[in-house]
């Protein structure tokens, strides 16, 4: 598929003579460094990631075992001004997401006002009736958000999706920077790059701020992981380490009298805040899936009694829903009284008959996604799909149109990337992380840049052969 995309280094397509200002030094460096040097550094980078064990597993690929996500040594650069725009937009969006969730499980004003159709909320599998009418500590739902952003032009940024459940990838943001600083210290002396290393501190402050009312001044925090077989286990252990909190599995926690304790060598110890990296369904076999062995029996009772804070709150999946996403401009306006600073990608909701008809007629040009999907699974990229795949998807769409949305195929910006044949443009996206506590919103300047390593591919997910890059925000 030939698509002309905005290039992060060169700007407009076909204009290789011109370099965008933030990439001046990088381009000089690329031209001046002998190719052998890059080959050495790339293998050092691979060794670095393998040695620290930053691996992930791909579901359904038993053979693959532990893989590392390919790391590309050419960074992606944003100017301070570009970042300032994103930063304001991210704060506004996450404020709106939190207000929306509090409203959905509370008064329901946005539904009565007709901003979002009632049935889209109440018959949504991601909506948890158990949470209706309940208050969560400090009325905060999305403490940690990962907002996926794509760029299609000099000033054209779009939000592609909101990750309000348990967004992952922040360990790569931190380790990619660490790798770059080790491999290319000279680049850091000729650029003023905003540090991302403050993220763990910001996360810890956020988690401490949301402890339940009765908790001690220095609350006990634990990070709850499904265990070493989860694809993001490295990140869980990495974060627990950087935060200085216990990394717990369900079997390490017990609930007595609606209070959560962890089993320690000194006996049970009370836990005040749980940064959980387990999905809602698996949290508590007494409240949700009875077959879950990952969760903690009684955890929901303790949570609803207000004795423990879960981050993110239970039920945030409704804000991840891609049909809900399509209403975000209205949601932002309703809850903040402002126009959304970050644009949405135009979206057809297949649950609406007219939209469905349009989508079915134009499948070969659209990207179709499951409303509840994530990780790049179960999506159709029309321009890259075979006729067979399109026909198959058409059947799925007709069977359950409410399960899908469609968007135009965006020409995601490209960034120069090392590939087998040398340096070539590859499509990238950006996931910044936004932290919400009782003491305000924190956004670390940077994020995770994911890159689709296959030529022409628009799917950046690591499970689909994507890689990552260090992301620089230049300070003015």
């Amino acid at each position: 598929m030939a698509m002309t995309a905005f290039d992060e280094m060169y700007g407009l397509p076909g204009d290789d003579l011109h370099t965008r200002a933030p990439y001046d030094e990088l381009r000089r460096w690329l031209a001046a460094t002998p190719p052998e040097q890059f080959a050495i550094r790339r293998s050092q980078a691979e060794l670095f990631f393998r040695r620290i064990g930053i691996t992930f597993s791909v579901y359904g690929e038993a053979e693959a075992g532990e893989r590392i996500i390919p790391f590309d040594i050419i960074p992606r650069v944003l100017t301070g001004d570009e970042w300032a725009v994103l930063d304001r937009g991210l704060r506004q969006r996450v404020t709106a997401l939190n207000a929306f969730l509090a409203d959905v499980y509370g008064a329901g004003e946005c539904i009565r006002a007709g901003i979002v159709p009632a049935e889209l909320i109440y018959s949504n599998p991601a909506y948890l009736p158990k949470m209706a009418g309940r208050t969560v500590p400090h009325n905060l739902y999305v403490h940690i958000a990962g907002i996926d952003i794509v760029r299609v032009g000099e000033d054209a940024f779009y939000v592609l999706e909101d990750n309000a459940r348990t967004p992952s990838g922040v360990s790569y943001m931190l380790e990619n920077r660490e790798a770059m600083m080790r491999l290319f210290p000279e680049l850091f002396s000729c650029h003023r790059i905003a540090p991302v290393e403050v993220y763990p501190e910001a996360l810890l402050a956020t988690l401490q701020s949301v402890a339940p009312a009765g908790a001690p001044a220095c609350p006990t925090i634990a990070l709850l992981t499904p265990g070493p077989y989860n694809s993001a286990f490295y990140e869980h252990s990495f974060l627990a380490d950087k935060l200085g909190v216990e990394l717990v599995e369900g079997r390490d926690l017990i609930v007595r009298d609606d209070t959560v304790y962890m089993r320690t060598t000194e006996g049970p110890r009370r836990v005040d805040v749980i940064y959980r990296r387990i999905d809602d369904d698996f949290l508590d076999p007494l409240a949700f899936r009875p077959d879950s062995v990952l969760g903690v029996p009684g955890l929901m009772d303790a949570y609803l009694a207000g004795n423990v804070t879960l981050t993110n709150a239970v039920g945030t999946g409704i804000a991840d829903d891609k049909a809900i996403y399509s209403y975000m401009p209205e949601i932002v306006r309703f809850f903040t009284g402002e126009e959304a600073l970050l644009k949405n990608v135009p979206t057809w909701r297949c649950r609406e008959p007219e939209a469905l008809a349009y989508v079915l007629d134009n499948l070969s040009e659209l990207v179709v996604k499951e409303v509840n999907g994530s990780g790049g699974y179960g999506m159709l990229v029309g321009p890259c799909a075979t006729q067979g795949e399109i026909d198959q998807f058409r059947k799925k769409l007709r069977r359950s149109p409410e399960g899908f949305i469609a968007q135009p195929t965006l020409a995601l910006s490209t960034c120069p990337t090392f590939v087998a044949s040398g340096v070539a443009p590859r499509h990238v996206d950006l996931r910044p992380f936004v932290l919400s506590g009782t003491d305000g919103i924190r956004v670390v300047p940077g994020g995770l840049t994911r890159v689709a390593l296959k030529e022409g591919s628009l799917v950046v997910n690591s499970s689909q052969g994507g890689g990552t890059k260090d992301t620089w925000v230049l300070e003015n």
């Binding site: 380490d241 990394l247 060598t265």
Partner: protein, 314 residues
């Protein structure tokens, strides 16, 4: 500290210690079989090695002959042997991976590098030189792990559980060698056999890297009752049962101090150390070396159960 974390740390340390022990057995045995044919004990050296690992029954169920190749495969590589060196390294690594946050990055890197190298470079059909390098490498891994623990860990409960795992495993290993070879270790002035026994005795010492230590401590030729003394009661010898229990008592005391609580483990370890300190070689041989060692293995095992009850399963 989480009970599960303590459990993983403890078993990581135990399995690395075990990998080292298995490597030493293989080393000593390879040496024994390269003796001149006139000392033709060589054929049962392999049986002795298997007995020392404590896996004789398992070995018989896996192989139909006993020789250099099957023993080497069993001790070093066979995934069906839970204590094979490759299994030990894999289990140690799995435990470490589950609690990476409790180990220092230096310790993790030793274990992870070992596991990566093991996967990448070991082969069943190694020649003698290659197996010698492999054995040296395994010993080096354990030493690097211990060194990393010693040099980089905070002196807190995680460190104490690392030390306890190493010491209890080491005590078990030393006792097993004594249990297999007790018939060779005779009371004062009773000697049987000739050159062959001499080689077997020195093999025991080599298995625990104590031949030089022996000469420094006793300054006389190798006598079986002194070997028993060195491995059981001598407090200078880091692998002796007494030394291992001094380490265990010390670290259990430190844990009790940290937690402000004494328990079963402090009691059991203290009682065994008292028993060892009150013993002399005459009384050990009077009781019967075999009975003494069997009794010790039982008490050491009971301490392992006590650790699980008091700290690992709470």
């Amino acid at each position: 500290m989480l009970s599960r974390t303590a459990d993983n740390i403890y078993w990581s340390a135990r399995y690395l210690e075990r990998a080292d022990f298995q490597a030493r057995i293989l080393d000593a045995c390879t040496r024994l079989t390269s003796l001149p044919a006139s000392y033709a004990g060589a054929s049962n050296a392999w049986e002795g090695a298997i007995a020392s690992t404590g896996g004789a029954n398992l070995f018989r169920s896996l192989y139909d002959r006993i020789d250099e190749w099957t023993v080497r495969d069993f001790i070093a590589f066979n995934p069906g042997n839970p204590s094979s060196i490759s299994n030990c390294l894999m289990i140690a690594r799995n435990n470490a991976r589950a609690v990476r946050t409790a180990l220092t990055s230096e310790m993790w890197e030793v274990i992870n590098d070992a596991w990566l190298e093991l996967k990448g470079s070991t082969r069943q059909d190694m020649d003698r030189d290659e197996i010698a390098r492999f054995i040296a490498w395994v010993k080096g891994v354990t030493q690097m792990f211990e060194g990393a623990a010693h040099r980089t860990m905070l002196r807190n409960d995680a460190y104490y559980f690392t030390r306890i795992g190493g010491a209890i495993e080491r005590a078990d290993n030393t006792a097993r060698i004594l249990d297999v070879k007790y018939h060779l270790l005779l009371p004062v002035n009773e000697t049987v056999g000739g050159g062959l026994d001499y080689f077997q005795w020195t093999t025991i010492l080599r298995e625990v890297s104590a031949l030089t230590a022996y000469h420094w401590v006793y300054r006389e030729s190798v006598k079986p009752w002194l070997i028993a003394d060195l491995l059981i009661l001598n407090r200078q010898m880091p692998r002796s049962l007494a030394s291992c229990y001094e380490a265990l008592v010390r670290h259990f005391d430190l844990i009790a101090e940290t937690y402000g609580q004494q328990g079963e483990c402090q009691r059991l370890a203290g009682a065994t150390l008292t028993h060892l300190r009150a013993s002399c070689m005459e009384s050990v041989f009077q009781e019967g070396l075999h009975e003494f060692v069997t009794g010790f293995i039982g008490r050491n095992h009971a301490l392992g159960d006590g650790i699980a009850r008091q700290y690992l399963l709470s």
